[in-house]
């Protein structure tokens, strides 16, 4: 039944092309920014809530930055139930002897053998790159964002002048890049190399453990907390997601503001669509009366109007996010030069699946925005059609 009216729905949209276009563009713009913002927040949030409960972060109990003696590492890595582990040590410095804020880098040194297993998103690192990483002591793997920002190329060597005093300079060789996403701006180096080069084999910043089961992870966490409670330094053990959550909680206010803005974006879309639909309903009162005279039920008419709105909303939503996804893909592939405005896309690439979601969202917005104007057509009186329209 409804299918038969689709023609009328489409043609009605062509009635006032300017209005349809304006409404569509309004939704496109809002959906585009919505897609960008929610993509960022949902990535952050999924790290917090969707975290893997078998992954534990071991760090110093009390103070930040955390320093864990290296002797702890071998003790903890040997514990039953630990499937895999890595250490994290962050080396901050500048690329030039004279520090410049935009040439500051943080190199994350890790246990070389478990690079792929312990860092989500690095699983797909090609074997040949991984082999080279294992065989090159001064190797670094760099995220695409950082590569672009610093204008580096594979094979290049660079020196990081440590920000601490007394200064330590460490030389690195870029042997490959890692996929975008979470590690888009990261620089990975080998812990054994950093320890040698910086003459600090005494400590690491944190230990990451992958435990065989959730049950064992919980057990291990409490065992470790207890065992290291009275040692110097003491340790704290938390799941990876709890660790992320702790840092994210410092920005709760920002996240809440963003959530409010996202809600406003949605309401704004509904308002724009609703306004446009109301105007066109008002202009088409006579036509609706005629349809009713011909035997159309109020529901038919309401559904056609809602259909129009959902169609515009859905298509506009898909176009808006489609544009964002294209920009995101092109940025990742390097077709669009990296600039201030698009570098965040390396960190938070918008997946193509978002286009589908945005289509649904747009249709939902269309539905919400058109229900009331569509209901208003009930008030159109068929008996007025002869009398008043002259």
């Amino acid at each position: 039944m409804l299918f038969k009216f689709i023609n009328l729905v489409f043609k009605s949209l062509g009635r006032n092309k300017v209005r349809t276009a304006l409404t569509g563009m309004g939704v496109i713009v809002l959906v585009a920014i919505y897609a960008i913002v929610t993509n960022v927040t949902s990535t952050v949030k999924s790290k917090i809530s969707g975290g893997d409960q078998t992954r534990l972060i071991v760090s110093e109990r009390w103070t930040m930055p955390s320093q864990i003696p290296s002797r702890y590492v071998s003790e903890i890595a040997k514990l039953p139930g630990v499937k895999n582990f890595t250490t994290w040590t962050i080396f901050v410095g500048f690329l030039d002897r004279i520090p410049q804020a935009d040439r500051q880098v943080a190199v994350l040194s890790v246990h070389p053998q478990t690079l792929r297993e312990m860092h989500g998103g690095l699983m797909d690192l090609p074997d040949e790159v991984y082999e080279e990483w294992l065989s090159t002591k001064d190797a670094v793997l760099v995220g695409p964002g950082m590569m672009k920002k610093m204008n580096w190329h594979i094979g290049q060597q660079f020196t990081v002048f440590g920000a601490r005093f007394p200064p330590v300079d460490v030389q690195y060789r870029i042997i490959g890049t890692i996929p975008g996403g979470e590690w888009a701006s990261a620089i990975f180096c080998r812990q054994d190399y950093l320890a040698d080069a910086s003459d600090n084999s005494g400590s690491v910043n944190a230990i990451l453990l992958s435990v065989e089961s959730e049950e064992r992870a919980k057990q291990l966490a409490s065992e470790l907390s207890k065992e290291y409670e009275n040692r110097q330094p003491a340790l704290k053990i938390e799941t990876e997601s709890a660790g992320v959550a702790r840092f994210a909680s410092r920005s709760t206010a920002v996240l809440q503001i963003i959530d409010a803005v996202v809600a406003i974006l949605l309401i704004d879309m509904v308002i724009i669509l609703s306004n446009s639909i109301s105007i066109s309903v008002r202009e088409r009162r006579v036509e609706m009366a005629v349809l009713k005279v011909l035997g159309f039920q109020p529901l038919h008419i309401a559904i056609m109007i809602i259909g129009e709105a959902m169609f515009v909303g859905g298509i506009a939503g898909m176009i808006g996010t489609g544009i964002v996804c294209s920009i995101s893909t092109l940025t990742l592939s390097g077709a669009i030069p990296l600039a201030k405005w698009n570098s965040f896309l390396l960190q938070f690439p918008v997946p193509w699946s978002a286009v589908l979601w945005s289509g649904l969202l747009g249709a939902g917005v269309g539905l919400t925005g058109s229900v009331f104007p569509a209901m208003a057509t009930r008030k159109v009186k068929v008996s007025d059609v002869f009398a008043r329209i002259a």
């Binding site: 300017v18 209005r19 304006l22 409404t23 563009m25 309004g26 939704v27 713009v29 809002l30 585009a32 920014i33 913002v37 109990r61 009390w62 103070t63 930040m64 930055p65 520090p99 440590g162 920000a163 601490r164 005093f165 200064p167 009275n230 110097q232 330094p233 003491a234 704290k236 938390e238 709890a242 959550a245 702790r246 840092f247 909680s249 410092r250 920005s251 709760t252 206010a253 920002v254 503001i257 409010a260 803005v261 406003i264 974006l265 309401i267 704004d268 879309m269 308002i271 724009i272 609703s274 306004n275 446009s276 109301s278 105007i279 202009e283």
Partner: protein, 382 residues
């Protein structure tokens, strides 16, 4: 000129559409005001935290107290610098401070929460003059006593008499202080040497804050420290130090404007719809006005004014709604620390928001208004 009354009446007659269009503006403007109030609030905390006649000295290469470590020798060198003020009793106003970001375990929620602890000597209260104990009393050295800022009191739900674990000791809250709404209010203060021994920081400290007699003196002290041959350190005025911490808010400001403009463009399309429809409905009016002798540009301006009128109504409501957050306290990360801040809707923000709203009105109204010129009077009256 066509009287504005004509437009106002029309807006009132089509009040549903007017309100709906205006509410698009209202939301955008309200969002902008809240976002800017957030930034202003954080910046306010950061810019007022530093006192212009104080100089903070950090270890070379460090811009943040959390990572900085100075030793006693450097401390003595710094104190030898000319220009440091003295207290009435002759005590030099140079405060060695240990600043630690600690993890406090909240038993109730089984999570770790950040807590900023500053170990100070008594002279610190004469260097950071904004800090005032408002409840309880000051801590006594070696008694495991702490005083907490009012922000900590709120965020960590602590009160005088409570105790909490820091390291292996239980510390007792004996006092509460305020600091003029600055970043210090988000800190816990305690005795420096007691904190040092608890966390293996004997002989080292994070920073040294020295007080001078005037901002000009402070600048001189900074220069002297930088030029010193015997000392390698990173000195800066306290004001500069805290302002640098606020630098990241610039990114938030930029993001806020980007988001606001995107939303604004959405609203502009909305107002264009409304205005095109309004003009469509009033083609006859336009024709009559033309026949009465009004010039096309006068009619154009009249319709543009109508769009602006909508944006003024919407913008005004938006600013009103945005103002609601004014003064609302929250905490957020700034650099490596968390600070308590209050949303602050400033005059500048209001001016920007109003300007923003009106420019949306103009942009949205212009194209439809231009279409008025194309209305052929006789054609329209048929």
């Amino acid at each position: 000129m066509i009287p504005v009354k004509y437009n106002a009446r029309n807006l009132v007659v089509r009040w549903k559409t007017t309100l709906m269009t205006a509410s698009g503006f209202t939301l955008v403007v309200a969002a902008l005001v809240v976002m800017l109030a957030f930034v202003e609030g954080v910046q306010q905390v950061c810019t007022t935290s530093g006192e212009p006649q104080n100089v903070i000295v950090l270890a070379k290469g460090n811009n943040d107290e959390v990572f900085s470590q100075l030793d006693t020798r450097s401390g003595r060198e710094i104190e030898r610098t000319k220009g440091i003020a003295r207290r009435g009793d002759g005590q030099m106003l140079a405060s060695r401070e240990i600043f630690l970001v600690m993890h406090r375990h909240l038993e109730s929620a089984n999570v770790f929460k950040f807590l900023q602890v500053r170990g100070v000597e008594p002279v610190a209260f004469d260097v950071h003059t904004q800090v005032k104990i408002t409840g309880g009393r000051n801590f006594r050295p070696n008694q495991s006593e702490i005083i907490i800022g009012s922000g900590v009191q709120r965020e960590h739900e602590l009160a005088i008499g409570d105790s909490m674990a820091l390291g292996r000791k239980q510390w007792k809250v004996v006092g509460i202080f305020t600091a003029n709404g600055t970043a210090f209010e988000s800190e816990v203060w305690c005795d420096q040497s007691e904190l040092a021994s608890q966390f293996r920081r004997e002989g080292v400290f994070s920073s040294m804050v020295v007080r001078t007699d005037s901002p000009a003196q402070a600048a001189e002290v900074v220069e002297r420290l930088k030029d010193s041959r015997s000392l390698v350190c990173n000195p800066m005025t306290e004001t500069e130090y805290y302002s640098k911490q606020a630098a990241q808010t610039e990114m938030i400001t930029a993001a806020a404007w980007v988001i606001a403009w995107f939303m604004g463009i959405g609203a502009i399309f909305g107002v264009m719809n409304t205005m095109f429809a309004a003009i469509g409905q009033r083609r006859k009016d336009i024709a009559v006005l033309r026949i009465l002798g009004f010039k096309p540009y006068e009619i154009l301006i009249s319709f543009l004014l109508e769009a602006i009128l909508i944006s003024i109504v919407g913008g005004f409501l938006g600013i009103m709604i945005g103002m609601v957050v004014n003064g609302f306290s929250r905490s957020t990360a700034v650099g490596s620390r968390e600070v308590e801040f209050a949303f602050k809707v400033t005059q500048t923000t209001i001016t920007f928001a109003a300007g923003f709203s009106i420019s949306m009105g103009i942009l949205g109204g212009l194209l439809p208004a231009l279409s008025v010129v194309r209305v052929q009077p006789l054609e329209a009256l048929k």
